[in-house]
Structure formats: structure tokens, C-alpha cells
């Protein structure tokens, strides 16, 4: 023992002990990510936070009081939730059966996946433009309905539904891709085992696949919800930005760049973040009650 201790130089000993605790030169690889987070997230966040408590007039909470005491402002929370929650839910629910059917390999799977995922590449503005052309007054959809004798369809753009469709179009591919990968991670033998034990397809889905998929659905819901919650371009382009689709981000934009009240805009951004955190917190709390271990598959 003594001999080894004498022969080993002190420096490698320290380096070795640090390495045991995960402190070594590879730690430098984290540097860009840490810089990125600090400069592009933490700094703006804390800057905005202090700005929201430093209004031009009134006490530190004046911006928040102004927001919540004006129903035209505070109503935007409900407007945004009314858009984002159903859109995220629909994206998740619609993805499940399609992803379920598309597990495993079959002819044309790649083409079908590409078709389902293409909307990701379009961007919200292009989607909104397309929606106006397709669903708008004298759009293709309108003319098609007219041609087969259905007139007086309710208006589908420049209102709540226009934004809702746009959120579904852009959010669905994300939800679908995520759920497909969660589903592929579930060992298909489990369902076959359930079949040999007498479970029909409904029981197999409800008792085997769904419980194993549920944590993935919760995560997917959170991600698509966050995407939908920060909706901005489509709320303006295919929505009713003065009324039924005056969402939180729009209110923040107007406060900052039309009224130049940066404190109020920051406060709205903070409120936006808080609402998102509450929804995600609730979903993740529910998720923690579920089985989240291995699902036996390659995932």
C-alpha cells in the first residue's frame, strides 16, 4: 500500500478522484449548451421578470394589477386555453389510432409517414395562407360545397375555427411522430401474449397497450400544448385578432409594440409562462401516477 502511494504522483490521484465524481475534461462539452441557456434563456427571462415588476407608474405589482383588472386583457388567458387545450387533445387523440395502425412494417409506410409529417416543414404562415385559400370565402372548399348544393356553410376562417385548424395542422405531425415512436417502443409480443390469454383487441388495447402508452401520451400532450399555447401568426392571419382569437401572445405584442408598455408586456409573458407551467404540472402529476418503467420493446 505504502509503496503504491509513494509511486503514484499526487496530481493523477486528484484527477482520478475528480473523474470518479464525473469532473473531467469532457465536462467542457457542456459549455456551449450552458452558455446558450444562460444567454438566450436565463438572462432574458430574469430581465423580463424584473421588468414586469418595474412599471413606469405605480407599485411593483401595477402591471399585474392592470392585466387582471381589465377583462379585455385577462380574458386572453381563457381564449388561449380554449384554443390550445382542445387542439393539443385532438392532436394526441387523433395520432393514437393512426400510429397504432402504422406500427410495424408495411408497403407504403414511408410515403404515408412523409405525407403525415410534411406540415411540419410548412411553417405557420404558409399553413395560414393555405387555409385562407382553401376554407375562406370563395375558397376551394366553399366552391366545392356550393357545387354539390350546400350553401350557407358557417364561416371557417377569420375566427376561432381558423386558428384551431391551423393548430391541428401544425401540431399533429409532432404528436404523431412522438406517439409512433412511443408505440414502437412497446413490445408487440405483449399484445400477442394477451391474445393467447383470451383478450380481444379492445381488451388488448385498453389493458396492455394504453397503460404502457399513457405516459408517452401525457408527454406528447404537454409538448403540443406548449406549441399551441404560444400561437401567434395564425391567430392574426386566420383568426379574429380583435376578438375571439386575441390570444396571450397577441396581447403581449400589442402591449410592447403598440402601447410601448414593456413592463405590462413582460408581465403578460410571465403570466403566459405561469399558465403553461400549471397545465404541464397538472399533466405531469397525473403522469407520475402511471407505470413508467420498461415497455419491453426496442425503445
Amino acid at each position: 500500500m505504502t509503496l503504491t502511494a509513494e509511486r503514484a504522483p499526487a496530481d493523477p490521484g486528484l484527477r482520478h478522484r475528480l473523474a470518479e465524481r464525473g469532473v473531467d475534461r469532457q465536462l467542457l462539452l457542456l459549455l456551449p449548451a450552458v452558455l446558450f441557456v444562460v444567454l438566450l434563456f436565463l438572462y432574458p427571462f430574469f430581465y423580463g421578470l424584473q421588468l414586469s415588476f418595474a412599471p413606469a407608474q405605480g407599485g411593483p405589482f401595477a402591471s399585474y394589477i392592470a392585466f387582471f383588472s381589465d377583462s379585455y386583457q385577462s380574458g386572453t388567458i381563457w381564449i388561449t386555453l380554449k384554443l390550445a387545450l382542445p387542439a393539443a387533445l385532438l392532436n394526441v387523440l387523433a395520432s393514437v389510432p393512426i400510429a397504432y395502425r402504422m406500427r410495424g412494417n408495411f408497403r407504403g409506410k414511408r410515403l404515408l409517414t412523409i405525407l403525415l409529417v410534411v406540415p411540419i416543414t410548412l411553417g405557420t404562415v404558409l399553413t395560414a395562407q393555405g387555409l385562407r385559400n382553401f376554407l375562406g370565402p370563395n375558397g376551394w372548399f366553399d366552391r366545392l360545397l356550393g357545387a354539390i348544393g350546400i350553401a350557407d356553410m358557417p364561416q371557417l376562417v377569420q375566427n376561432y375555427w381558423g386558428v384551431f385548424f391551423s393548430l391541428v395542422i401544425t401540431g399533429f405531425p409532432f404528436a404523431f411522430l412522438l406517439i409512433l415512436s412511443y408505440l414502437s417502443g412497446i413490445d408487440p409480443t405483449l399484445e400477442r401474449a394477451a391474445a393467447t390469454l383470451g383478450a380481444d383487441w379492445k381488451q388488448r388495447f385498453l389493458r396492455i397497450t394504453l397503460p404502457l402508452l399513457a405516459p408517452g401520451l401525457a408527454t406528447t400532450f404537454c409538448l403540443t400544448f406548449v406549441l399551441a399555447f404560444s400561437v401567434f401568426p395564425s391567430a392574426v392571419l386566420v383568426g379574429d385578432p380583435a376578438g375571439s382569437t386575441r390570444v396571450l401572445s397577441l396581447a403581449a405584442y400589442q402591449a410592447a409594440y403598440e402601447k410601448f408598455d414593456y413592463s405590462l408586456a413582460s408581465a403578460i409573458a410571465m403570466i403566459m409562462g405561469a399558465v403553461e407551467l400549471i397545465v404541464i404540472g397538472v399533466v405531469l402529476l397525473a403522469r407520475s401516477q402511471l407505470y413508467t418503467g420498461t415497455t419491453g420493446g426496442k425503445g
Binding site: R192, A193, L197, G198, T294, T295
Partner: protein, 372 residues
């Protein structure tokens, strides 16, 4: 579950993308029988099992349970229990809920589900682990849950797909005895798929040897062990030495062959007229002998030089090379060392002679990779 007296596979076949995985499987399984489907990987044994379970639709033939046709039924309507190679335990359910699953699917009264689940847990001695999730169990324990889950339903047929292949050697032996004990005590009709001939011989009442999707031989362990019908089956049943030899004289059931300049007397195997037709003077045959039956002699015999010696307790496993360059395998109690010159002999009834199959498309390499 409905029981049966006879389960009949009638010309069962399965093709995958134009390629035959299983061809014309005829098999009658009697109630209470333990059948092993045996063969190398890709021989169609798992395909046969999945067809039987209803997890794979047939492309030819039919399956009959007594007078009822069952190959058109979905798996959940067949009432068979299946044990999967990967166990396929439901990872989000406790041991108890895994075992109860099938009983619940039958909508049995709560009390009966509990009673039979308890009995199942007791059967595989997992009383202390009933509340655990599968992920918290060892491989052997998971295996026992899988077996209990399949047998609590008292299925008319239990299907096992290489259930022991994921266990280590010691546990494999223990579970093998366990499966045999369960079969003896419950009397459940069982079809067991394996590539391990020793496992199949020790467990089964009858073996079905498959090769390239076709049945090679159906018989008792005794028949398979001592009388393989062709050299492929012999190869699979532990005849590690299979060499080409030339017939120099045939007399009824015995024939004299020449191999590497040495003459040996062997038994014409197979038996049917069509098979013995291939054994005539001048023909090249496959001569098969187990390592245990190749003896070191001081008298006349096949000359060889010892190359590799493996210590195996009381015996040694030896690889020796003939002057013609053939590697031969033998087991002997004599202490040999690499470089020793030996003479080998075999008694005529232990040297089996098979016609070389000209018709077969695939000719597996004899002695492939055997230490050479």
C-alpha cells in the same frame, strides 16, 4: 376450456413473401402428450407454433380439434396457453395481476379468479413475490410467472416457444425438471419448441424434427436417438462425425465402407427400400457416428493424430485428424495429449450409413466450424 382427445394438423403450411417457412406438416397430438418441435434456427418450428396459436394465419392446410376446425379462429378464441421466449410478461402488472389476467378475461367470478391465481402462484413457488413487478424479478422467476400465467387457465394445449433459451445453464436444467414435473402433475398437452436436442429428448414423449420447413422425422426420443432417418437428423441428434465414405461391399443391413484408406463396417440406416437403394457398392454414402461411440483401440483401426483435447471431468473430448485431413470427434476416458497418434474403431451397429441426398437443394456443411 374445452378439452380434446386429438388435435390434428393436416398439411399445415406457411409462406412468407413467396418463401416456404413450413411445408405440409401432418401431426396428430393426443391429449396429455408432450411434443417437442426440434430443429435448427430457421427450420420452421416457431412458425408451426405460431400457426397453432393462431398468431400467424396458415397459407395451406387446416387444424382440427377432434371434429372442430380451429385454424380459422383468432388466438383469443382457441383457449391455448402460450409461453413466449421473451416471457412477454405485462411490465405494468404485478406477478399476481399477470397470472390473473387470463382468468379475468374469461369473466370468471372474483372469488374463483383469486383462488386459481393463488394456486398458480403457489404452483411456481412465487408466494413471496406476488406483489412485485416483472422488472423486479430474476430471469428464472419471470419464466415461472410466464408458465403460471399460461397454465392457470388449464388450457387444452400449452405452447412453449424456446422458454429456456434466455436462462443460464444451471437454471435451464432446473427449469427443465420443473417443466417436466408440471407436465407430469397437471397432464397438460404441450407443444414445446426448441433447438436443443438434449432438452427435447429429456422432456418430450414424441419429437418432430424439422429442417427447412419440412418434417424429417417424428418419433419417440429413443427412436430419434438411436435411429435417425437421414443424415441431417443424425447431424442434429448429436452424430458429430459425419463423413463421406465409399461403399466397398453391401450385405443386407450391413455394409463395408472405405474411408481414408481404412475399411469399416456399418449399419445401413433408414430402413425403407427407397433409402437402402442408395447403398450399393461404389456409391458414396454419409457415415455417421457419435463421439461417444468412437473408441481408441490398440488393434486395427482408423489412424489419426490428436489435435485438441478438452477436459470434461471423467472424460476427455478429443479432436483428432485423419491422414486425409478429416477432423473426428471422440470422447474417451484415456488421457491423450495433442500430437499423440491413435487408432480409432467403432462397432458396426453404431456406425450408421446414409445415402448422400442428391435431391436436396441445401447441403449443410458437415462438421462446420468444429474447431478446424
Amino acid at each position: 376450456m374445452s378439452s380434446f382427445s386429438e388435435l390434428r394438423l393436416d398439411g399445415v403450411g406457411r409462406r412468407f413473401a413467396g418463401k416456404d417457412a413450413l411445408v405440409d406438416l401432418d401431426l396428430t397430438i393426443r391429449s396429455g402428450e408432450f411434443i417437442a418441435l426440434l430443429g435448427p434456427s430457421g427450420c420452421g418450428k416457431s412458425t408451426a407454433l405460431n400457426c397453432l396459436a393462431g398468431l400467424l394465419p396458415l397459407t395451406a392446410g387446416s387444424v382440427w380439434m377432434d371434429e372442430r376446425r380451429i385454424d380459422t379462429l383468432p388466438p383469443e378464441k382457441r383457449g391455448f396457453g402460450m409461453v413466449f421466449q421473451s416471457y412477454a410478461l405485462f411490465p405494468h402488472m404485478s406477478v399476481r395481476r399477470n397470472i390473473a389476467f387470463g382468468l379475468q378475461m374469461q369473466r370468471l367470478p372474483r372469488g374463483e379468479v383469486k383462488r386459481r391465481t393463488d394456486a398458480g402462484i403457489k404452483l411456481v413457488q412465487l408466494e413471496d413475490h406476488a406483489g412485485k413487478l416483472p422488472g423486479q424479478l430474476s430471469g428464472g422467476q419471470q419464466q415461472r410467472v410466464a408458465i403460471a400465467r399460461a397454465v392457470v387457465l388449464e388450457p387444452s394445449l400449452v405452447l412453449m416457444d424456446e422458454p429456456l433459451s434466455n436462462l443460464d445453464a444451471k437454471l435451464r436444467l432446473e427449469m427443465r425438471t420443473e417443466i417436466r414435473r408440471l407436465h407430469q402433475s397437471l397432464g397438460l398437452t404441450t407443444v414445446y419448441v426448441t433447438h436443443d436436442q438434449e432438452e427435447a429428448l429429456s422432456l418430450a414423449d414424441r419429437l418432430v424434427v424439422l429442417r427447412e420447413g419440412r418434417v424429417q422425422q417424428i418419433g419417440t426420443p429413443e427412436e430419434l436417438h438411436s435411429r435417425p432417418v437421414n443424415w441431417h437428423v443424425a447431424d442434429f441428434m448429436g452424430f458429430r462425425n459425419i463423413v463421406d465414405a465409399r461403399v466397398v461391399g453391401a450385405t443386407g443391413t450391413e455394409a463395408e465402407v472405405e474411408f481414408d484408406g481404412t475399411r469399416l463396417t456399418g449399419t445401413v440406416a433408414g430402413g425403407s427400400a427407397g433409402v437402402t437403394a442408395g447403398i450399393s457398392t461404389g456409391a458414396t454414402v454419409k457415415a455417421a457416428v457419435r463421439p461417444d461411440d468412437l473408441r481408441v483401440t490398440t488393434g486395427a483401426g482408423l489412424e489419426a493424430v490428436v489435435e485438441v483435447v478438452e477436459y470434461q471431468g471423467r472424460e476427455q473430448a478429443v479432436e483428432a485428424r485423419t491422414p486425409g485431413g478429416r477432423a473426428l470427434h471422440l470422447r474417451t476416458q484415456e488421457r491423450l495429449a495433442p500430437g499423440d497418434a491413435v487408432r480409432l474403431t467403432v462397432s458396426p451397429e453404431r456406425l450408421l450409413l446414409y445415402p448422400s441426398d442428391a435431391g436436396s437443394a441445401a447441403q449443410p456443411l458437415v462438421e462446420a466450424g468444429a474447431g478446424t
